[in-house]
């Protein structure tokens, strides 16, 4: 038992370090990708090719003055950024990064907690993200953050619904809530092939949940200055961004597990490459897509965003469920 605890803690720490590196280099990737899309080179002064930029940013933010405006609701104001980073870190614990490796005679599954209701857990945890934004906006006691927080609450709950429905097809096909089982079910057919509509809806809804362009209304710089984090500074400000990028990593990882076959190689003859590499490739592919979308498209207006979710995505995802059920039944009979 003790060995198991130690292994779990080590796994958790490795995973944490990995996530934090992903987050740090996610910010750099964002700026580099954006730079190249915009015909410039992006950050290039800190370290070779700007590789130390995230470190410099982090240090700078730690040593900035931490301003707590006079009219804020202090406990809530401090709680909000903590709540922003916690959900993705909680979520990362149930994501299987690979099948299992054998180390010193122990068979170690590459997941911290192989929970049999991982999908439910993920959605439960993900829905916490909205609290940080709403509380941050409310506690600031200032108009732009409040507007941002309200918008965000409405936006995130609307898309959460769609997000929940979009993966229903996958659950039906796999017949399990466990991410490990879902990945196993994709040995031959990735669910992106059988659930293309579900995958598209998932990506759209995830983008909206992550508050990224074209759905970044809560923080829409050009309208609400900074949105919910206008009053935040120093590391508290940075934590909202840490949370956003960590959420991106989680959303990409979950997307890879649910739709892109997790650690399964695309073709059987490629199976000499370790599963974890395949998983990371898929993770970064979705991550890059999110960046790509952000720097290519304009922003939707608030009412258009809400209409899009309720009037189009919701019926579409219901249709997807019914169609999946029908086809499964038909295939079963014949």
């Amino acid at each position: 038992m003790l060995a198991l605890v130690v292994i779990t803690i080590v796994k958790l720490l490795v995973l944490f370090a990995f996530t934090m590196t992903c987050v740090a280099y996610g910010t750099l990737a964002e700026r580099k990708v954006c730079g190249h899309i915009q015909d410039r080179i992006g950050p290039c002064y800190c370290g070779p090719r700007g590789l130390l930029q995230p470190l410099a940013d982090g240090l700078k933010l730690f040593f900035k003055e931490d301003i707590t405006p006079s009219e804020v609701d202090k406990p809530v104001f401090i709680l909000a950024p903590v709540l922003a980073v916690a959900p993705p870190l909680l979520a990362i614990g149930v994501i299987p990064f690979g099948e299992s490796i054998t180390l010193f005679g122990h068979k170690i599954p590459l997941v911290v907690a192989d929970v049999n209701v991982a999908v439910l857990y993920l959605f439960a945890v993900a829905s916490f993200s909205v609290y940080s934004i709403v509380l941050g906006g409310w506690a600031s006691n200032s108009k732009y953050p409040l507007l941002g927080g309200l918008r965000s609450a409405a936006q995130m709950i609307s898309y959460e619904l769609v997000l929940g429905l979009s993966i229903m097809g996958v659950i039906m096909l796999a017949g399990s809530f466990s991410l490990t089982d879902i990945v196993h079910a994709q040995k031959h057919w990735w669910f992106v092939l059988t659930q293309p509509l579900g995958f598209l809806i998932y990506i759209v809804a995830a983008t909206a949940e992550l508050n990224r362009l074209p759905f970044d209304l809560p923080e829409a710089e050009s309208e609400l200055v900074g949105g919910y984090h206008t009053e935040y500074s120093s590391m508290k400000f940075a934590m909202f961004f840490l949370g956003e990028y960590a959420n991106m990593v989680v959303a990409s990882a979950v997307g890879a597990c649910l739709f892109l076959g997790g650690w399964n190689p695309p073709f059987a003859f490629l199976s000499f490459i370790p599963g974890i590499i395949w998983f990371l490739i898929k993770l970064f592919f979705i991550f890059f897509t999110l960046l790509w979308i952000r720097w290519s498209w304009p922003r939707l207006r608030y009412d258009q965003l809400m209409t899009f979710s309720w009037k189009y995505l919701l019926p579409l995802s219901l249709l997807n469920i019914v169609a999946t059920a029908g086809v499964m039944l038909w295939m079963h009979r014949i």
Partner: protein, 389 residues
């Protein structure tokens, strides 16, 4: 909702008041600006919001007021010229143009043809650069960040051209009463030609990015509508009014420079919305490019070298008054000068296009959403230097 009166415990004891008073959703007053990323400078718009919808708009200006009109009264005529640069600081040539035209009209100076061509060329390059900056920031406001740097890439080329002719990139002061400061430098025509040749291709890049983008269309079509008649009543001019189907361009109605000698088309759209104004400006950039090509054709062949008319050393217009206007990138720019026969203007009035255009903002955003205000401000292309003067 009806009033429900009852006793309420307050700091002053029991007071009878309307119990529903605090339960009603009241509008929220929000300051947008002066320190706001998309009010294009120090514009302050106070919005009354009901949820996301705007019920009232008030515009406060003057944060960049520098008293140019009064200032002019203590400067000689040539001394005031560099100050006009600071009106619409991103299209300095056009500002110079309006001022020198007014002084020339006052004094009855005839400008040599070559100078007219050079001026027209500069004015049109300015129009392209101003519209590029507009497109960049407008797209940025709506969230399409990538367009920004693409536009700046080409704008940089125009600024390089400006640097070649007069050494300055932004506040150029290249025009002089009676002509321009100096003739075009060697190599300018080739470099300018190069720009004019590649520009249509680059303009296509911007189209590829947003012209048919569904989100862009959703954000601009039927947003911030203003009919041609309303626009005229509010003094809207330039590309903004041409987007409402009004065929009015100073370059056509009162040709100055060589606009009557070159071939070009006025850009007019009937949409009355942000998208129409966007299309008008896109077309104008292309037309400007055509005008530049024709100016270059002339300047290449012409070897008169007359870039300035003979003007007296001391500019001393006769007693009288004159109004001259040009089609600046933002709209009708007019200078009204009253001279008392001395070396300084007795009174100088500037009809700044941005100032007049801004006044139609409340009309445009009546009942719109917060995001539409941003689109509307972007679409009328205000420069606060010109609004506040």
């Amino acid at each position: 909702m009806d009033e429900i009166r009852g006793l309420v415990v307050t700091e002053e004891g029991l007071v009878e008041q309307d119990l529903m008073r605090d339960t009603l959703t009241k509008e929220m007053w929000v300051n947008m600006g002066p320190q706001h990323p998309s009010t294009h400078g120090v514009l302050r718009v106070v919005l009354a919001l009901e949820g996301e919808r705007i019920v009232d708009t008030e515009i406060y200006i003057g944060y960049l007021h520098r008293g140019f009109e009064k200032f002019a009264e203590s400067k000689t005529y040539p001394q005031f010229l560099p100050i006009t640069d600071r009106l619409d600081y991103i299209s300095a040539h056009a500002m110079n143009y309006g001022y020198v035209l007014a002084v020339e009209k006052l004094m009855g100076i005839e400008v040599p043809l070559r100078a007219k061509y050079i001026r027209t060329l500069m004015a049109e390059l300015t129009r392209i650069s101003s519209h590029l900056l507009w497109l960049a920031t407008h797209a940025l406001d709506i969230g399409a960040m990538t367009v920004f740097l693409y536009c700046f890439r080409e704008r940089e080329m125009i600024l390089d051209l400006f640097e070649m002719v007069c050494g300055a990139r932004l506040t150029t002061s290249y025009f002089r009463i009676g002509g321009v400061a100096n003739d075009l430098p060697d190599g300018f025509i080739e470099k300018c030609r190069e720009f004019c040749n590649i520009f249509p291709q680059k303009a296509k890049d911007y189209d590829d990015l947003i012209l048919k983008n569904r989100i862009w269309l959703a954000r601009t079509i039927n947003v911030a509508n203003i009919s041609g008649e309303e626009g005229l009543n509010l003094g809207l001019s330039g590309p903004s009014i041409r987007g409402s189907g009004v065929k009015w361009d100073i370059r056509v109605s009162e040709p100055y420079g060589v606009y009557d000698k070159v071939e070009w088309e006025m850009a007019v759209e009937d949409g009355c919305d942000v998208y129409a104004r966007y299309l008008v400006r896109l077309k104008e950039m292309r037309e400007s490019c055509k005008i530049c090509q024709q100016c270059l054709d002339f300047l290449e062949k012409d070897d008169s070298g007359e870039f300035r008319a003979k003007v007296p050393k001391v500019i001393k217009p006769p007693e009288g008054e004159a109004y001259a206007c040009v089609e600046a990138p933002k709209g009708e720019l007019g200078f009204y000068i009253v001279s008392d026969g001395s070396t300084k203007p007795y009174r100088l009035k500037i009809r700044a296009p941005s100032f007049a255009n801004l006044m139609s903002l409340p009309k445009m955003v009546e009942g719109a959403l917060v995001a539409d205000v941003i689109a509307a401000i972007g679409s009328i292309d205000v420069v606060l230097g010109e609004v506040d003067r």
